[in-house]
Symmetry: C2
Subunit: 198 residues, 2 copies
Amino acid sequence: MARPRTFDEDQVVCAARDQFWATGYTATSLDDLTAATGLGRGSLYGAFGDKHALFLRALDSYCDESTAAIRADLSAPGSPLERLAGHVRAMVSIIAGDVDRHGCLIAKSAAELGGADPEVAQRVNRVVTEAHALLTECVGEAQRAGELAAGHDPARLAGLVLVVLRGLEAVGTCGAPQSMIRDAAEQALALLPRPAAG
Amino acid sequence: MARPRTFDEDQVVCAARDQFWATGYTATSLDDLTAATGLGRGSLYGAFGDKHALFLRALDSYCDESTAAIRADLSAPGSPLERLAGHVRAMVSIIAGDVDRHGCLIAKSAAELGGADPEVAQRVNRVVTEAHALLTECVGEAQRAGELAAGHDPARLAGLVLVVLRGLEAVGTCGAPQSMIRDAAEQALALLPRPAAG
DNA sequence: CGCATTGTTTACCGTATGGTCCATATTGGG
DNA sequence: CCCAATATGGACCATACGGTAAACAATGCG
């Protein structure tokens, strides 16, 4: 009935996301996007609307993958505390291995647009809320398993873990050495309140 | 001998800094800057060079004030641990009171330009290094005063505190509720390793 | 009072921007 | 084979961008 598309929409969103990730929203031009995706302006606008809509699509893709990665880490094999530690260490690996200093697209978008763009702010806030919920669940499990002290509100404790995780990303983006990032993560894990011995 | 300037350079840098702070480097136009500073393009370029140089001046101003604020908090009256806690709570107040979601200009600049602009990266890294040094000094004092457990490397502990501080800012920028920010800060302070009782 | 020197103002420049339009190409249905 | 329908690619548009230049204003010195 009509000419079929020659591209895969998800692949294009992925390419656009990498471009936005590397150069930020404002500093990414339409020419950058056509070059990154291989699509002409007409196709891009026909399929996604405009630059801002494409960015939201790209951001959504990143957010979905981030949340899925957290969920995967926290539901991996192992005890609750092992899974929590595994997630923290996985984040450390990503942050310490980020040679290009692209940072996290969510943090980057929040910094660049969060204050002025409600659609971005809403997405960023949603990811943080979901991450907190997942961490809360895992902390609760660790408490019930006797790996962490009961008597602490798991949501509050998960909030601290979330703050540490975002802090690791932030200092990494600021160029802190890998050793500081690894050390801080291990200290945070070690200082989580354990049950009284015996 | 020559016509005198009609503006105060520091005041102009301050106005430009606020504009960059609000809208970011790339999204701030020359027109925004002339409007914010009240100066014409000629004066701006005559006094500062170009947009990038003016941004670096603005960033330097912000960095200097930030470092000075940390130093002031950590050398306020009170015991070392009280000063450390005072600084953390001061940061919490700033973050929780940031209704406009401007965030921290250093974090914002690091996110937007840190990966591509070595001059920005260097400044950001310097502030983080200085903050770490100041925190290390204060943590060491707290250990010597018996408020924190000896036997922990003060630099490592200070790294964790720095991570938590930057994390508080990051989650604040992401729209986390004030309660989470305050809670996380208090938990972090409470979990710092104390000397064994007795 | 000139005059050199510097600051200020404004018009202007070339370019890059986000976005649109249209001619062309490719499909399936009649 | 033609037509409706959608996709593609590139020319094109108005505007906004960072930056420059030149005319003009204000100062101190001689």
